[in-house]
Amino acid sequence: MTSRFMKLFSAAILFVFLAGTLAFAAPPIKVGALFSVSGPAAFLGEPERNTAQMVVDEINKAGGVKGRKLELIVIDTQGDPAKAVQGANKLIKDDKVSAIIGPSTTGDSMAIIPVVEKAGIPLISCAAGSKITEPVKKWVFKTAQNDALAVARIYEYLQAKKINKLAILTVSDGFGSSGREQLVAHAKEYGMEILSNETYGPKDTDMTAQLTKIRAGGAQAIICWGTNPGPAVVARNVKQLGIKLPLFMSHGVSSKKFIELAGDAAEGIMLPSGRVIVANQLPKSDPQKKALLSYVTGYKKVYKVEGDHFGGHAWDAMMLLKSAIEKAGDSPAAIRDQLEKTEKFAGIGGTFSYSAKDHAGLNKDAFVVVEIKKGDWKLVK
């Protein structure tokens, strides 16, 4: 008898307690996040997850969006499209999220596009592949810069320097082949002539053969397109061979790791890059400066390491979402419509202006040209 009473009593207390909290706060707005926190693309997913969490904590600390807290539900895709699809389904069906940010990789993003399109949930991808938003999909946006913009930025710089005979050396993986396609496709438009077109394997440790061939080819500059560690080997080999041609890299190496790996050989190399790494050197008139400094100092304070471009993509996605919810409320359809109206949103990756025809939102001003000087980045004006 007593034990039955106790059970009833505690159930009653529990009910009162729960009902009390429910009555006090409006339910949080749920935002789903798919990031490759582990696996081969963890270098993308980890800073993205960290950044998204940091942004959500900051928003909630400041009182949430229109008085309602945000709740971030992160699922690790491990860089596996099958897991990304499972995760997207779970977020939409079980958690009933209002919007999804991520995934980190182009493969994961392409895999979940049919899922979000069918369910009618806005997606802001943090991956770079241009096919994510070309052709435009109704519910899909993205924040990472297209490779074509980086190519346009380098070509514009070369044009100004009156260099038009090029050698390109690209890695034979997804990033390198996309870069190679863009470099070749846009060459004519900027009056560039590609005299040598060489490739190397992602695991190659010696590129002297390719570079020797390039030297004999008569180019005025070398453009290398890859992600670490290959470009560092290229930089070292260029120095070893005593090649005096200006060397350009892609935005794929715009992290301190590259300077560390290439050592002295990094000196004088130029590359197109997002503004994060030169946030402090930007002129005050730069519209992105405020967002950049807030992200860089915030990230350093919370995680004790430098924030990077990848985290920046998540920052942009989260902030774009926040301002859309602020204006339009938390229904998925209203968020989508509001996102499409985004104009001149100064974020980390660039200044975004979405429209019905453009869900990538950036132009080549998203990149600046930086040069490596004394082991650090220097903004080239």
Partner: protein, 294 residues
């Protein structure tokens, strides 16, 4: 730059890569010559050498030489543990099962390295500076001279050890016939263990001297291991000149192929040679047939 110096550059690049392949090939040869198995975890010793040197340098902040010595000792210990835990307990296993075990061990060591040291690539400082040396219009790094020098030293030491020392001869005896060797009083188990010690030490040495040039990460062992394997197959599993020539041949063909045909086929070169050798002369290019030796 004229055609001659271009050619000289291809040859120099090829030879320097070839020397690396040869050195890694040695590790395969030594274990094979003592136990009759092919140790596919050989590439992981190469990785362990480079990665543990970098780890010791940055975390214990020791000077380079003690760091290298410690790294070799560490990799050798891993070799000993590997032999004791994974090879010795299987008393009557066929060579094929042992080979498969070594593949498993290589995946395990690689995974452990990834968890401990992360996925980043690291660079080791060069032993004697980064200023290239010029040889008739072509260039070479001082580090390449270290690689050539250490490879030559190891070849000589190997030759002396296996041909003249009693332990080296005992190890060879075990490879020819373990049962007969044990009958004449050779402790086969010790000899097998010793072969793992020597090849882990050589493998890690190779990993350390190439790390300033090629940089290192948890997964460098795979490709380097395969290239070393090709070198030793061409050399007919000898721990002598055959493997050196095999390594240099692969290095040269890779470099000339990348220079005059296309760099896209660089890795394919080694594998095409490997297949050709296995089809046409499985005993290796430079080795006489086994039956003639006995």
């Amino acid at each position: 730059m004229d055609n001659t110096s271009q050619f000289v550059q291809y040859v120099l690049s090829g030879l320097s890569n070839g020397a690396i392949y040869a050195l890694i090939g040695f590790g395969f040869a030594i274990i094979h010559n003592a136990t009759g198995i092919i140790n596919f975890a050989q590439g992981e010793f190469v990785m362990l050498g480079g990665m543990s040197t970098i780890f010791i340098l940055s975390f214990l902040s020791l000077p380079l030489v003690p760091a290298i010595v410690l790294a070799i000792i560490f990799s050798t210990l891993v070799g000993i543990i590997f032999e004791r835990l994974a090879i010795r307990p299987l008393k009557n296993a066929t060579p094929l099962s042992l080979v498969i075990i070594t593949i498993g061990a290589s995946i395990f060591i690689r995974g452990a390295a990834m968890l401990i040291w992360g996925k980043d690539t690291h660079a080791l400082p060069a032993f004697s500076g980064n200023n290239p040396l010029y040889i008739s219009g072509a260039t070479i790094m001082p580090q390449h001279l270290w690689i050539f020098g250490i490879t030559i030293l190891i070849i000589i030491a190997n030759k002396l050890f296996f041909s003249y020392s009693i332990i080296g001869k005992a190890m060879r005896a075990c490879a020819y016939n373990a049962h007969a060797a044990s009958l004449v009083g050779i402790d086969v188990k010790i000899m097998v263990l010793l072969s793992f010690v020597v090849s882990a030490a050589i493998g890690s040495m190779a990993g350390i001297i190439i790390a300033p040039l090629t940089m290192t990460a948890y997964d460098v062992g795979v490709m380097l291991g395969i290239k070393g394997f090709c070198a030793v197959i061409i050399g007919g599993m000898s721990s002598g000149l055959g493997t050196v020539l095999g390594g240099l041949l692969i290095g040269l063909l890779e470099s000339l192929g990348a220079g005059y045909i296309s760099a896209s086929y660089k890795d394919a070169v080694a594998f095409i040679i490997l297949l050709l050798i296995l089809f046409i002369r499985p005993e290796g290019l430079f080795k006489q047939k086994e039956t003639q030796r006995v």
